[in-house]
């Protein structure tokens, strides 16, 4: 096992990339610490799978280096890197039995048969397929096949890292939860470095210690689930994480006040006037409804009751604003103002978060 370092990495599928837009993966420096569980989160086509295939050695990056510990593995193949990977769609060897499928990576490495038998039993127990070991893999359900794929990914103990490429896409929702919990337990038990690619925020937030959010071929934030929620570094993180996502409103910022279409909004810190396109962002959880004269005047579109709470969908000068209200709270007919909790407001210039000159209450965050 080793720490994985990405040094100046970039990748383009074109032979001669000209501009930055040609790169599926924009320049990236990153260290995956040994033994941590990471989730790689982003929308489809943001470069997640490209990054994963570069780490596993299925793809050679156009630029930069990959280090496992101190060893440069950029041009080494998957075998030399000793990595396990589980793919989005189940890959099983149809003509083999379930047991042979699980034993396959070990047999190919010439392990001791007694050890293989024991290890296969152990993994089969983990994925709940002990009774099926003697059965042919052909004709099993997609669920079962994907469990075999997961099992094959975890069967080797000495791997440097285990990579998961949206492995639970084809699995039933109730199984998803169970398998994810098992993966987490496995991680705690064996301490493998795990990188888990997904576009599902719940999956990412429940699985990983650290979540890496990618957008448009770039890592926009690396942080714990709390950090992603409290201080999104990029508007994409705000929008992508949370349900509904962060509210973003065009504003002009000067000092500790933001002006949104002539209405003043108090901020939690003081800012030197940022350049570019300036927005303030606040999560719907920290927006309250008021019927007084304070806050932003909005047009209420509708209220959705999702059981645990109500989501208020409103509009401020053509921009959508959402608020989360407690379950059962009546919405007065004259309520048309939204008040933002000042210390929960983040300021963004050209989509990137701007730090206040001095902060009153904003939680400190780790540098990316």
């Amino acid at each position: 096992m080793a720490q994985i370092t990405l040094d100046n990495l970039a990748h383009s599928y074109l032979p001669n990339p000209q501009s930055e837009d040609d790169f599926a993966l924009k320049q990236l420096d990153h260290v995956w610490k040994d033994g941590e569980a990471y989730a790689l989160l982003g929308a489809s086509g943001c470069g997640k799978s490209t990054l994963l295939n570069i780490i596993s050695g299925l793809l050679v990056p156009s630029r930069g280096r990959i280090l496992f510990g101190d060893r440069d593995v950029t041009h080494q193949d998957t075998v030399a890197r000793n990595i396990a990977q589980v793919f989005q769609f189940p890959v099983v060897y149809d003509t083999m039995t379930v047991g042979d499928n699980l034993a396959f990576p070990l047999r190919n490495r010439g392990m001791d048969p007694a050890y293989i038998a024991a290890r296969v039993q152990q993994i089969a127990g983990m994925i709940g397929m002990q009774d099926l070991l003697k059965r042919k893999a052909r004709g099993l359900t997609a669920d079962a096949k994907q469990k075999i794929s997961l099992g094959r990914g975890m069967v080797r103990e000495d791997v440097n890292a285990i990579l998961f490429d949206e492995p639970l896409t084809v699995i039933d929702p109730h199984m998803k939860w169970e398998l994810r919990t098992q993966l987490k337990a496995l991680h705690n038990e064996f301490g493998h470095t795990m990188i888990y690619v997904t576009h599902d925020q719940t999956e990412a937030l429940t699985f990983a210690d650290k979540v890496v959010v990618m957008h448009d071929g770039r890592v926009v934030q690396l942080g714990t689930p709390e950090e992603l929620f409290d201080t999104p570094e990029h508007t994409f993180v705000g929008y992508f994480i949370g349900s509904p996502g962060m509210n973003l409103i065009d504003a002009e910022v000067s000092g500790d006040v933001a002006y949104c279409g002539g209405h003043a909004v108090a901020l939690g810190g003081s800012y030197t006037a940022p350049g570019g396109k300036v927005q303030i962002g606040i999560r719907p959880e920290f927006v309250t409804l008021s019927s007084g004269s304070q806050g932003l005047p909005v047009t209420i579109r509708r209220i959705e009751d999702v059981g645990r709470h109500q989501i208020l969908r409103a509009e401020f000068e053509g921009q959508p604003v959402n608020a989360i209200l407690p379950e059962g709270m009546p919405v007065p007919a004259d309520a048309n103002r939204l008040i933002f909790a000042p210390d929960r407001i983040s300021v963004y210039a050209d989509d990137w978060r701007v730090l206040p000159v001095h902060s009153k209450a904003t939680p400190q965050r780790e540098a990316v």
């Binding site: 998957t78 075998v79 396990a84 793919f87 003509t95």
Partner: protein, 290 residues
């Protein structure tokens, strides 16, 4: 709503019935008719019962032809299937050269049977044919018209040249449909090239390979034109496969009764084999859960 009963609709089916009657049913019935009768000319027929069938079934000549036929089909399958797979594995997966390969592979399939026969008849000659000439030069006195082994080799090579492409194209299509993730997973599992073939490519090609085997078996089992053009079934009857023997019997000797009985059994054998293949293939599909 009341359904209008109008039996005139049956007239619309009539053209098809007539066509099928003339193209299949009536000729087949003629054959059936011949197979149970005997004649000494003058259009006078005598009832023969199943006598011709008994004769054909116990005829050494038919047994020998059947033996040659099975040997021929066996040999060309044993060559064409592995060779076709090997070629498919070597073909580029995409790009300009993939298209070039596909066109080149398809060419032999487009050549009419008797032209193929003529090509190889000429190629095998030692005076004007390249193949025969070269063999002659390296010291093999090549003569497919006199030497049964030479005749067999020529006919087999000709069939391999003509039809291996079909197997290769089918196998290629099967290979192309394997998702990339299988190869990536195999790489990660450190599977050797042989194991990739054995556990991924071969199982995934199973369906198309069965079709290839069926097509090649049926076609080779009914082969007539090419060996007829090259060797005429000779030397002696060394390359008289079932069809050639049948034609000799029916048209050469004008033994219509035995030939008719022979044809019917020939037809039934092919029907039986097709049915077996069909059943195997549908069961395979079910096992895959498709």
């Amino acid at each position: 709503m009341d359904k209008v009963q109008n039996n005139k609709a049956w007239f619309l089916v009539l053209p098809v019935l007539v066509l099928v009657a003339f193209s299949a049913v009536i000729p087949l019935m003629t054959v059936v008719n011949y197979s149970v009768q005997d004649t000494f000319g003058n259009n006078v027929f005598f009832w023969e019962g199943l006598g011709w069938f008994r004769d054909v079934l116990t005829s050494d000549r038919v047994h020998a032809a059947l033996g040659r036929q099975l040997a021929f089909s066996g040999i060309i399958l044993a060559i064409q299937i592995p060779l076709g797979i090997a070629i498919a594995l070597c073909m580029p997966k995409r790009g300009f050269w993939a298209s070039v390969c596909l066109v080149l592979m398809a060419l032999p399939l487009l050549i009419p049977w008797n032209v193929v026969g003529t090509i190889w008849q000429i190629l095998g000659r030692t005076d004007i044919g390249l193949f025969g000439y070269l063999l002659d030069k390296i010291g093999v006195s090549w003569n497919y018209a006199r030497n049964p082994v030479h005749a067999w080799v020529t006919v087999v090579i000709m069939d391999v040249w003509h039809w291996t492409s079909l197997v290769a194209l089918l196998a290629y299509a099967g290979l192309q449909s394997i998702p990339q993730a299988y190869y990536q997973a195999a790489k990660i599992d450190q599977a050797s090239r042989w194991k990739v073939f054995r556990y991924i490519e071969l199982p995934k090609m199973q369906g198309v390979l069965l079709i290839a085997i069926l097509l090649r078996f049926m076609d080779s089992f009914m082969i007539y034109t090419e060996p007829f053009v090259v060797t005429g079934g000779g030397p002696g009857s060394a390359t008289s496969f079932l069809s050639i023997d049948l034609v000799k019997m029916a048209l050469g000797q004008f033994d219509l009764g035995p030939a008719a009985a022979f044809s019917i059994m020939y037809f039934l054998v092919i029907l039986l084999v097709s049915w077996v293949f069909y059943t195997v293939m549908t069961n395979l599909d079910k096992a895959e859960g498709r």
